[in-house]
């Protein structure tokens, strides 16, 4: 039920993001979803890719610090109120979201939300109990 996400440490310098994209592209790696968290000095790029092992390998080779984190991918209908349906039960159970990002699947008229929780297992339990669709890794990597 968990999805593996790649995270990359980037300094706030021009061209660093382009470099990552180029390396991934050259190696035939497809980005499924991404988000960039910025601070004054550095950023953290978070990616879901089709081939995470290879992505990690090529990025490390190029000298980047790469981490792999377990996140949870949730699918909802792309309509008003979709996000609230997920967040309300979580907040009722006191589960903290560390960060999240989302993308829309045009073909299926669905939205996919990527969550990083403080307590992943508990979050999955709550989501399942509330009949929310959780995508497994393979489903996300091959979207």
């Amino acid at each position: 039920m968990k999805v593996e996400q790649i995270s990359v440490f980037l300094e706030n310098r021009a061209g660093r993001l382009a470099e990552v994209a180029e390396i991934l592209g050259k190696n035939g790696i497809n980005i499924r979803a991404l988000s960039l968290a910025d601070t004054t000095d550095f950023g953290i790029l978070r990616l879901i890719v089709n081939d995470r092992e290879k992505a990690k390998e090529v990025l490390k080779e190029a000298g980047f610090t790469v981490g792999i984190t377990e996140v949870v991918a949730v699918e909802v209908d792309d309509e008003p109120g979709g996000l609230a349906k997920i967040l309300t039960p979580l907040s009722e159970e006191g589960i903290n979201v560390e960060y999240m990002y989302a993308f829309v699947e045009k073909s299926r008229n669905k939205a996919v939300l990527i969550f990083r929780f403080e307590n992943t297992d508990k979050a999955i339990e709550v989501l399942a109990k509330n009949n929310i669709t959780i995508l497994d890794g393979e489903q996300v990597y091959s979207l």
Binding site: S7, F9, D41, F42, T65, E98
Partner: protein, 438 residues
């Protein structure tokens, strides 16, 4: 102006006779009371009786900062602790600071030397001294403070920092003398201008600057900006604190060493051989009157030269040139002494591992900045911004807690730091501190 006319203008012959008498006394005393010195003298095959002339001083072994560390905290004291009325400390090369002690008479001596220093700079009873050196274990603040009291001038013990308040108080309280580091004096001028206060419009007339190296260009700039006379002062806690030597306002050319209390030598830092007057080398000082914490041939690691020619002010003391560099890797950042090894210790203790790091010292505008760049490798990486920021803040906090200065910790990508011969170069000092010298 000369505070202690008798001592400060003593003919050389009489001065040297006094030095010899005091040197013999102090050598006898440390031999009798400090096991460290006795052992070292014995190893060198010397007894106090062998000191028959000032020239014999060079037969005595050196004392170094490492010796002080090994005898931490009170092993170098020459009096029982109950006679010690004050303790100060300065940065050590590792977590343990260097501890120095003073008897009541030492405090009086120090006050006298600071009174001489202030007077040499033209400060009198009528003056209002804004003392912006840091107070506390650092000797700068309290050193100036006691000297000013001795003269009977008014002290505003404002200590360091809070620049806007410094300007407000300088203006409202009518300060006539400013004491701080030279770079802080430049910074204050900037702050004054930002606040709409024209520095030249204040009634400040003299500034006494020290605790960090500076140049003639800086002096001219400070004098021009503030319309004051800028005087260089020198000292180090291991010797007594500020008040080892000072420029006179008449010549502003070389710092008079108070030779009735200290014997200076210049050595070749490599060989330890004495160098003649006029040649640059490492300054070595022997204290000849201190009771609680006498030091014999202490290697200051400061590079300078001694000037023997008489000065127009009438003092007969030898002068030392501006300090032109260091023979070790100590950094002086905003007047605080920092050893790279201290930063390394902090990094290890914060994270349990030693990441690759680099220390970058720069001067932004007029203030020194300390940046520690830490490579983010997999051992310390997290995908959460918060955790990485917390790590950076924690290191900053630990540097502040242990060394006492604000540092900026910047997380950088791995292998971006320059490495030389496979080993990382640890320090980049972008400031231009020294003009000339080695």
């Amino acid at each position: 102006m000369i505070w202690n006319d008798e001592m400060e203008t003593l003919p050389r012959e009489a001065l040297e006779a006094l030095q010899l008498k005091r040197l013999k006394q102090v050598v006898e005393r440390v031999y009798a009371t400090v096991p460290f010195y006795r052992k070292k003298f014995q190893e060198a095959g010397i007894t106090p009786d062998d000191i028959k002339s000032l020239d014999d001083l060079k037969r005595l072994p050196f004392t170094t900062k490492e010796d002080l560390r090994e005898n931490y905290p009170f092993g170098m004291f020459a009096v029982p602790l109950k006679q010690v009325v004050r303790i100060h400390a300065s940065s050590g090369t590792t977590g343990k600071p260097t501890v120095v002690g003073y008897t009541k008479r030492d405090i009086e001596t120090w006050s006298e030397l600071m009174a001489r220093s202030l007077y040499a700079a033209g400060v009198t009873k009528e003056d209002i001294i804004q003392n912006a050196y840091g107070y506390g274990l650092f000797t700068g603040g309290l050193g100036v403070h006691y000297g000013a009291e001795k003269i009977g001038a008014t002290v505003i013990p404002i200590s360091g920092g809070h620049s806007k308040r410094q300007i407000m108080i300088m203006k409202d309280f009518g300060a006539t003398v400013l004491t701080c580091t030279p770079s802080y004096a430049l910074h204050l001028a900037e702050v004054a201008e930002e606040m709409g206060v024209e520095p030249r419009s204040t009634i400040l007339k003299v500034g006494i600057f020290g605790a960090e190296p500076w140049t003639e260009e800086m002096r001219r700039e400070i004098e021009e900006l503030w319309n004051i006379k800028a005087i260089d002062i020198y000292g180090l806690s291991e010797i007594i604190g500020p008040g080892v030597s000072i420029e006179c306002e008449e010549a502003q050319n070389g710092l008079h060493i108070f030779e009735d209390h200290f014997i200076p030598e210049i050595i070749d830092p490599e060989t330890g051989e004495n160098l003649p007057y006029g040649e640059y080398g490492e300054l070595v000082i022997t204290t000849i009157t201190k009771e609680a914490f006498p030091v014999i041939r202490y290697r200051t690691r400061d590079i300078t030269r001694l000037i023997k020619e008489p000065c127009i002010c009438g003092r007969t003391f030898v002068r030392m040139d501006r300090v032109r560099g260091r023979t070790d890797d100590m950094l002086i950042i905003r007047g605080v002494n920092v050893f790279p090894s201290q930063i390394e210790e902090i990094l290890i203790s914060t994270k349990g591992v030693l990441p690759h790091y680099m220390i970058i010292v720069d001067r932004e505008g007029t203030l020194d900045t300390l940046e520690v760049q830490v490579e983010v490798d997999e051992k310390i990486f997290s995908d959460e911004v918060r955790k990485l920021q917390q790590l950076a803040r924690k290191i900053e906090q630990n540097i502040k807690e242990t060394i006492g200065i604000s540092a900026k910790v910047k997380l950088v990508e791995p292998k971006t730091l320059q490495r030389f011969e496979g080993k990382a170069r640890r320090v980049i000092d972008k400031r231009k501190l020294f003009n000339g010298g080695k």
